[in-house]
Amino acid sequence: MNTTYFATELRRKLRDVVSMFFVALLPAFFFLIFGASQDFGDESIGNGNVTLYVMISMAAYGAVTATVGVGGGAAVERLQGWGRQLGLTPMTDAGFVLVKASVAVVVAAVPITLVYVLGALTGARGNAVAWVLSAVVVLLGAALFALWGLCFGLAFRSESAIGAASGTIVVLGFLGNIFFPLSGTLLAIAKFTPLYGYVSLARYPLTEKHLASADGAPAIQEALWVPALNVVVWTALLAGLAVLLVRKGRRRQ
């Protein structure tokens, strides 16, 4: 990977204090509201408790928000003609996508770290595997959504595309079983949406095959291949689309 470009992009992102404030603090705030301050937080689930479950969900939400922003930022660059400038260099399409995705993962680590520290301080309990493995999955899986933001930005080529991409994440967050446990038809539909596989996989070290359910309904079970397949398919789709759109962006605008 082009480390000079990567380091410069990272510095550029962290210099943007205002957007970092929202990327880092909003999910932490959500966790304190939905997770830490709830009285069901201590109920046990799989290898830990509900607070840990909510903590992983919110960290995932924060990480995705961060990576969508990084990816969407590419839209503005395209408007500034940066794609044409890079088109004059040996940097490949794949190289560009790799740098952007890597920056996104590092930026995503910021809200994840913050939410996990808050979780540890506010009663999230689980075994070591649940803590460590979930954090790793949240972090790496978030790269997928850098591609989501990138595709939005490249396809719609306007600053509002970033806002639109973030908007879809809230909707997909509900459909992805992040904010509220789903059941029935909605759950069946949810399994095809991009955030579902990612979050389920991130919580898997905690829940193993059990899905959380609201209001004491019988627990639902799900095999690991369902979220895994979801992630694989969405990654392939978005990566392919991103490369196509980058190629298109090199032309004159």
Partner: protein, 317 residues
């Protein structure tokens, strides 16, 4: 496939190049329409044409930024994208190309990092007069300063061919002068250069050879001095008595130096290398009134050379 490459490879070889765009209204516009151009190593060539002549699209095709609908483009015998990857060709583009929130030095460093063997960053910054601005954000640089930065980026691969698309557009006189001074120093090192411009004076000052394009085609190609002579006629127009128009036109056409005579109602428009002679004849002998003399614009020269409108449009099928 050709059996063997010629011994001295042309720096640029464009053959039968065609690029069609579809406008918002669905009309098909032939931005580049069967363009042929060969540039030999070491030449400094001006691509001269009015707005919409197809200069920028030609450059995009030459750099592999877009694909032709027909014809071929090669740079040092290589496909354009390959030549870019090898650092044989680089360009200063007209539009955008910079990230506003990076500093000048960061921008140079990032672009340098994409090449396997780039020129030294500090040295390129020095050569393009950016040392004092190196720590400044791009968003705080003037248009001329940003253009110098783009020029610096184009020098990073130490290219054999440098392509500049209207490099001084939007610069004031001082910045323009400074830019060409730097450019001249670079050209002196033996680089091949192709620059697009719509200023005849720039072609005159910096190019040995000028290629005029209009309507996506080459309409004139030769030593700049020669092209200049063809383009620098004057235009004389006057109203003439309505009952004598046919006679007036015939007598104007007989004058030496006259290239075209055009009649609209009772208004006659004459392009000529000798405008004084035309004016004299009109006022003294032909009953002309309301006389105007104008320097032939580049656009007028193109009209003369092509005899058609600069933009070819086809209606959608």
């Amino acid at each position: 496939m050709p059996a063997a490459a010629p011994p001295a490879t042309d720096a640029v070889a464009l053959r039968g190049l065609l690029k069609i765009f579809r406008s918002a209204e669905g009309a098909r516009v032939r931005a580049v329409d069967g363009l042929d151009l060969v540039i030999r190593p070491g030449e400094i060539v001006a691509l001269l044409g009015p707005n919409g002549a197809g200069k920028t699209t030609t450059i995009d095709l030459l750099l592999g930024l877009t694909e032709p609908d027909a014809g071929s483009a090669s740079v040092y015998g290589l496909p354009p994208r390959r030549a870019v990857l090898d650092g044989r060709v680089s360009a200063v583009l007209q539009t955008g190309g910079l990230l506003a929130d990076l500093t000048v030095r960061e921008t140079v460093r990032v672009v340098a990092s994409t090449y396997p063997r780039p020129a030294d960053v500090a040295e390129v910054i020095e050569r393009t007069g950016l040392t004092a601005l190196a720590g400044r954000r791009v968003s705080r640089c003037s248009g001329g300063e940003q253009q110098r930065l783009r020029f610096a980026l184009a020098l990073l691969p130490e290219p054999d061919l440098l392509v500049l698309d209207e490099p001084t557009a939007g610069m004031d006189v001082g910045a323009r002068h400074e830019f060409w001074a730097t450019m001249r120093a670079e050209a002196a090192t033996g680089r091949t250069a192709l620059f697009a411009t719509h200023y005849l004076e720039e072609a005159d000052a910096y190019a040995q050879r000028t290629v005029m394009v209009a309507g996506g085609r080459v309409v004139a190609d030769g030593p700049t001095a020669e092209i200049r002579a063809r383009a620098s006629g004057r235009v004389v127009s006057a109203s003439v008595p309505a009952d004598r128009t046919a006679d007036v036109v015939r007598r104007l056409e007989a004058l030496s130096g006259v290239r075209t005579v055009d009649l609209q109602g009772d208004r006659v428009t004459v392009t000529s290398a000798d405008s004084d002679e035309v004016a004299k004849a009109l006022l003294n002998d032909l009953g002309g009134t309301g006389l105007e003399v104008a320097t032939g614009s580049l656009e007028t020269a193109f009209l003369q050379l092509t005899g058609t409108d600069a933009a070819h449009e086809e209606t959608s099928r």
